[in-house]
């Protein structure tokens, strides 16, 4: 039986937590600063100041400080950013592929659990949607340690046997999430880009902030095979016996073409697109993304 904390690796969490502490503004940005919260926090307990950034609610501007120093600071309170984050975790059969250590699903689930954990750490609520060709599990966003445990348990219990079909499932999820949320889609995106982008557009249309974390196995990204190989296709694809060396160039072109198309599509819809491979340390991948996002946010 899997341990409840399988996807909450203390090591990873520790790294990410410390990262968070070191770059608090980054995390804040992740949850609030970059995405102007449509909701107000209920807490009145002052926590700290932070520099004003465009989009912040002017109600929390510390006018006294402005008067004294001619600089704009926002007063921050505990539970200031009571946001919803829905993590859409792909549980299709293709996510079960692994070449070395972690399967793509395990890697994605660890990312998902880490994000959920951090979100809840900051008193925001997080929800989880497991899907393949359809939604297999929908866990509404809540904020409690017990809820985190529920999410992890669901991820552990997920079975990856079906094919992905983004054309329907993303629309379905978009309809089911009524409130504006941060949507974090973690998937290997094994479908055609049009279907995926169409689904993402639906989220954007409903004014959700969308982050796509594209998980690829290191072998899928590099295709390092060098001798005759029989590839047994997952998700109902037939097998193929080929000399991988002869195919590598064309294959990598295909991968590049796909990711470029996704990247362009996401950019057009103002969706963050992050590509990670399973050989990258999760904390490194996330911190890299967050750093870039923060830099972009600051630039605005």
């Amino acid at each position: 039986m899997a341990e409840p904390s399988k996807y909450l690796d203390p090591h990873v969490l520790n790294r990410i937590s410390r990262l968070n502490l070191r770059a608090r503004s980054v995390m804040e940005g992740f949850v609030s600063g970059l995405h102007k919260s449509p909701y107000h926090g209920f807490s009145v307990e002052f926590a700290q100041h932070r520099e004003y950034t465009p989009g912040d609610d002017l109600r929390f501007l510390d006018w006294k400080v402005y008067g004294r120093s001619d600089r704009l600071y926002i007063k921050q309170y505990e539970q200031e950013t009571n946001l919803r984050a829905y993590i859409l975790l792909d549980a299709s059969e293709s996510m079960d592929y692994k070449s070395e250590n972690l399967s793509k699903f395990d890697y994605a689930a660890t990312c998902a659990a880490s994000i959920a954990y951090l979100t809840m750490e900051q008193q925001d609520s997080a929800g989880l949607v497991l899907f393949d060709r359809q939604v297999t599990k929908f866990v509404h966003a809540q904020c409690s340690p017990a809820h985190l445990k529920v999410m992890v348990t669901e991820m552990e219990a997920a079975k990856t046997t079906e094919k992905t079909d983004f054309s329907h499932v993303l629309h379905d999820i978009a309809e089911r999430i009524k409130q504006k949320s941060i949507i974090v889609l973690i998937s290997d995106l094994m479908d055609n880009p049009e279907s995926i982008l169409s689904g993402l557009q639906h989220f954007r249309h409903k004014r959700n902030d969308v982050i796509v974390i594209h998980v690829l196995d290191e072998y899928e990204a590099r295709f390092p095979f060098d001798r005759m190989t029989r590839f047994d296709g997952l998700e109902g694809y037939p097998h193929l016996i080929v000399d991988p060396k002869a195919l590598r160039e064309a294959y990598l072109e295909e991968v590049s073409k796909f990711t470029s198309e996704m990247r362009r599509g996401c950019l057009a819809q103002r969706v963050d697109y992050v590509q990670v491979t399973t050989d990258q340390p999760i904390e490194v991948a996330m911190s890299s993304y967050l750093a870039r996002r923060m830099a972009r946010t600051r630039a605005k």
Partner: protein
Amino acid sequence: MGFLHSGLLWFAAAGSIPILIHLFNRQRYKRVQWAAMEWLLAAMKKTRRRMQLENLILLLIRVLVLVFLAGALARPFMQSAFATPFAESNTHAVIVLDVSYSMDYRGPDRTTPMEKGRQVANGILNALKTTENDRFSLILLTDSPESLIGEPSSNVENGRRQVGERGVTDYGTSVAETMELVRDALKKSTNMVKKVFIITDNQRHAWTVSEKDRTRVSELYREVSDLTAPNGGGILVYDVGGNVVDNLGVVSLDLADGQKVIATDQPSEFTATIRNHGPIQVSGVSMNILIDGAKQGSYSLTIDPNALLKQKFVHTFRDPGPHSITVELEADALSHDNRRSFAVNVRDALRVLIVNGERGTSTSTDEVAFLKTALNPSIDQRERLSHFLITEVLENGFMREDPRKFDLVILANLETIAPEEVTSLEEYVRSGGGLLMFLGDKTEAYTWNQAMFRNGEGLLPCELEKPAGYPDNRDVFGITGVDYDHPALSFFRDLKASLTRLPISQYYAVKPWDPRPDVRVMAGLNVPGGAPPPLLVERRFGRGRAVLCTTAPDLEWGLMPKFPGYVMLMDQICSYLAAPVQRFRNIEVGEPMEYTLRATEFAKKFEVVGPRQTSSEVSPVQVNDQAWHLSFGGTSEAGVYALMRVRDDEPAPALVSYYAVNVNADEGFVEKLSEQELRSIFPQLKFTYVDQGLGTEPKAITVKAPASNIWKYLLGAVLALLLAETVLAQLFGARR
């Protein structure tokens, strides 16, 4: 199109190896589950055609490399207009040059066949295109043929030198013997065209083979013909002999009939046989007699055309020991056969040991009294009325005598014979001694068979059964079935009655035996009914001879000793057995000189002095405790050779024996074999006959071979393909 080594074409099957490897590799794959099949399928769709083409190109190149390599190894050749530009000369010429002494026949035009032969051989060498692929071998045609250049060579200069240096030898000719070397040379040849050039005076004798060898030789000729047949090759017989035949030759020199022993102070008679090979009577030809190299006399001869003349002459030797006799005709067109020598060992006496099995008190009761008288009638044994010197011992005294001191041992009616005596006698006979065995009433058949017959391994030529005949000598048998060709009995050819009428009443019956080459029945008994039982049987044993007489030498089993024929018979048989073996001293050119040393003759070093006074050292090889053997093979020249013993304690080398080395007399008969006769004798030999007169340039030496150098182009293609494979594999690989 054909292939020189078509067997190697099987290697072309190696061309399937790359395909098999390809198929095998397709079966040897790693199996993985794969999620990103969409991308893989898309990549596959995009590259499939290119990959297939690249793989096909590489596979094709690899297959072609192996197929072309196998093709190159199989040495293809093509005989077509298309292949003509590639054609090169590719002939292996096996030059067989006759250097037998008949090639020295100087005809009316004052030239010899050898001179013409050299010209032909040089012409062939000059015609060879060794800068292309022509090669040659050089074989000397004699009855001791020699492969001068056995391996195919392109060194024409060396060939010319060898042809120039080689003179006529004293050897005879045997095409059959030489063809064995020709076959070996052809088998070594890798050339497309194989040609054998036999340059000979084409005398009849050279092609003659015995009936026994005919099948083998015919097969050999067929094999050589088959080897040379393909691609325009063949056998060319260049007849360089003249047409005139007039030659005198000494064809033999031997002791006269009945003369078996040459003893000092007794006249010895010799017979020289001279043949006139020509169609004209020759008269006034002088024949000189030389004893030990010094002229002793001369005869003027007249010989009818195509006839033999037997010229007898007598000489009395005063000193015992080795001597040589030479007869020499005056010079004619062919000098090699004008001289012939004979080597003898002259004895002062022949020592005979008689072992008496039944000593009697009177001549009639003594077993050997008549025999002794027959061999030496002198009352005092020291008196020289005969060349036999007799020592008599009783049966029990035999062990004390060393047989090696005697030339002949006679066993007369012995009851038994001890194993030690058998061993001693066998060693004695094996090393060249003579043994005469008489049987009688005392002979114990079982003991004799056990000791002396030993299932055919012993000295007895046949197994004894039991005494037979007329008891108490009531009647007599005559002698029948006499082998007058036997040297011991040839004397009686003209005196048959004196032998066949000898009365014998009793004899020892022997068991019949299967014919053996070492056992010869000399005479039998005229017993009524059935086959005549043997009376005299000879057994060759090592270098010696043993004769069994199945009756007794005294009056007990017949009245034979009372008849004059008995004396002659005993003298002839005992002389035959006791006489020094002259044959081994009289050999033909090329035969080895053999000599078995007695203990007293032993030395570490011997010398052989040849006819030109050149000396060669010979070392004895120990055969057993008592015997050493000398062998000298350098008898390539006719004449008298002297075997000398060199000892530190002797002031000068001592003469041990003379050897007369003579030419093969048949070679002197320079009768030619016509082309038609040759074809009819050996239909298996496919040849072209070229009557080669002096000054005529050799023709049809080489032929343009079918294009045989295709292998070079194939090999070039292999290299080009290998290069292409490397480049393309790099190119295709870089894209991957």
